[in-house]
């Protein structure tokens, strides 16, 4: 066998190996765009803030990709601190293990009809930022522990944020918030951070009762080895970036 022939065979084998290996790695398609709509009702009963949120995403093909119903309540334990307990019912959530081997090939599970129950415990300190914006700015650190009953995944969300309220005659007319989310997997994933990204919103206060919201966030997600890949002895870490654009209506009775 001459050298040229040997190089050709090795190259072909390498390419075949590479392509087979690549099948085991989740597909990510550049910067994915999701369109989001949110409807929420946030009550105010003494120190309680009962909360209901319905949220839905559609992907760039205008197909539903995720939805959830969040119910629960915040309780103000201190002027600057609220705690909350919520139930999250979600569909379309995708996990590392949803990258599955078919025969042949690999693909993401279609999870849109899979309902997952979660419980969330929230602790959010908030404080007026002194000396700036006439003290109409609020800093916060949202800390959320989430337990997913579907796969026992436990997640910690840390979300520092800053909100500015534009006041006219001592009443907020609009507000905008900037935050950054860090999703920390507590008992899953090979990454310390499975998702993170900045978030910005704008809320116009039509009245004390009704607010309109526009929101957008960038997300940087890390997919790590799912169980099917693990069974084949593979190991990977793949990044997926996306953009979410949403509109919402908020009722505050």
């Amino acid at each position: 066998m001459n050298i040229k022939k040997m190089v050709f065979i090795i190259t072909v084998l390498f390419l075949i190996t590479l392509s087979v290996f690549a099948d085991h790695i989740p597909e990510t398609s550049g910067l994915g765009i999701k369109y989001q709509s949110r409807f929420s009702v946030i009550g105010n009963l003494n120190k309680w803030n009962p909360y209901l949120e319905a949220l839905g995403n559609i992907d760039s093909n205008l197909q539903p990709s995720y939805y959830h119903l969040l119910t629960g309540s915040y309780y103000r334990v201190h002027r600057n601190v609220k705690i909350g307990v919520f139930h999250l019912l979600q569909g379309g959530e995708r996990h590392d293990d949803d990258w599955v081997a078919l025969n042949p090939g690999w693909e993401w599970n279609n999870t849109i009809n899979r309902i997952e129950n979660n419980i969330i415990f929230d602790l959010t300190p908030r404080f007026i930022v002194p000396y700036v914006f006439n003290e109409n700015a609020v800093g916060s650190l949202k800390m959320r522990y989430q337990y997913n009953f579907f796969n026992n995944h436990q997640t910690l969300l840390l979300k520092p944020g800053l909100s500015y309220f534009h006041m006219v005659a001592r009443k907020p007319v609009w507000n905008t918030s900037l935050a950054y989310s860090f999703y920390i997997p507590l008992n899953f994933s090979e990454s310390y951070l499975y998702e993170h990204g900045p978030y910005i919103n704008f809320i116009y206060h039509i009245s004390k009762l009704i607010k309109l919201e526009a929101r957008t966030n960038l997300y940087f997600k890390t997919w790590t080895t799912g169980k099917d890949s693990l069974a084949l002895g593979d190991s990977y870490s793949v990044n997926e970036n996306g953009l979410s654009i949403g509109l919402g209506i908020i009722f505050t009775p």
């Binding site: 929420s40 946030i42 105010n44 803030n49 915040y74 103000r76 002027r79 600057n80 609220k82 959010t124 908030r126 404080f127 007026i128 006439n134 003290e135 109409n136 609020v138 916060s140 949202k142 979300k159 944020g161 909100s163 309220f165 006041m167 005659a169 001592r170 009443k171 907020p172 507000n175 918030s177 935050a179 809320i203 607010k211 919201e213 908020i250």
Partner: protein, 221 residues
């Protein structure tokens, strides 16, 4: 003849004294630390103490004072309030230096009744209203005024802008400079207008912070 002149002189003195020292009201109720500043001296307030034009009334922390004026008007001073009885009688004029007061003005009064702060004048004829210093968010403190009965004509000292505040409505004079549109404020429902201890609690415990938006409670996530 000499005796008659002497008698007339004494009567005149007594008459003038009566006019000069006629009380303009009395302290009907008090609780806590209350003082009356009169002609440079400070008196401890007590039930039934007469008050006069020019008196400066002060309530301390967690204190309360109820006055009955001779024109049948009633005033209730909340804690940490300083009120000057600038004018009394038919032309009653009060200067609110700090704190907050409830005023119940008798409808049969044939004159005027006004509460002033450095930035505004609230003039009435027969009504119940509440005036309070609010937060200092800009340069000067806000002034809150709300009406429980009747109506109040509020005018700004500097600009002359004025507005009628009707029963059930309130306004805020922003930094003492700008009148807001009269409207109903939910927090005013909590005000205790009672000035008669025999009819129940007279202390008003409304937290004036509730007059302001609580930004810490505005979390939409």
């Amino acid at each position: 003849m000499k005796n008659i002149v002497t008698a007339l002189f004494i009567l005149s003195i007594l008459f003038i004294s009566t006019i000069l020292y006629a009380e303009d009201g009395i302290i009907a109720y008090l609780d806590g630390d209350v003082t009356v500043q009169r002609e440079g001296s400070i008196l401890d307030a007590e039930f039934g103490l007469s008050v006069f034009q020019g008196d400066i009334l002060k309530t301390g922390i967690d204190s309360l004072l109820i006055l009955e004026l001779n024109n049948k008007s009633e005033l209730k001073l909340r804690e940490n309030t300083i009120l000057v009885l600038e004018g009394t009688g038919k032309e009653t004029s009060l200067i609110l230096k700090s704190g907050s007061i409830f005023s119940r003005v008798n409808k049969i009064i044939n004159g005027s009744f006004s509460v002033r702060t450095p930035s505004m004048v609230a003039g009435v004829r027969g009504t119940e209203f509440f005036v309070a210093y609010g937060r200092t968010i800009e340069t000067e403190p806000d002034i809150w005024l709300c009406v429980n009965e009747g109506s109040v004509d509020v005018s700004l000292t500097k600009t002359g802008d004025s507005v009628i505040v009707n029963e059930g409505e309130g306004i805020n004079i922003l930094s003492g400079k700008k009148l807001t549109k009269p409207e109903f404020y939910p927090w005013t429902k909590k005000l205790n207008w009672n000035t008669d201890p025999d009819k129940g609690e007279v202390r008003d415990k409304t937290n004036l912070n509730s007059a302001y938006e609580d930004l810490l409670n505005q979390d939409y996530e």
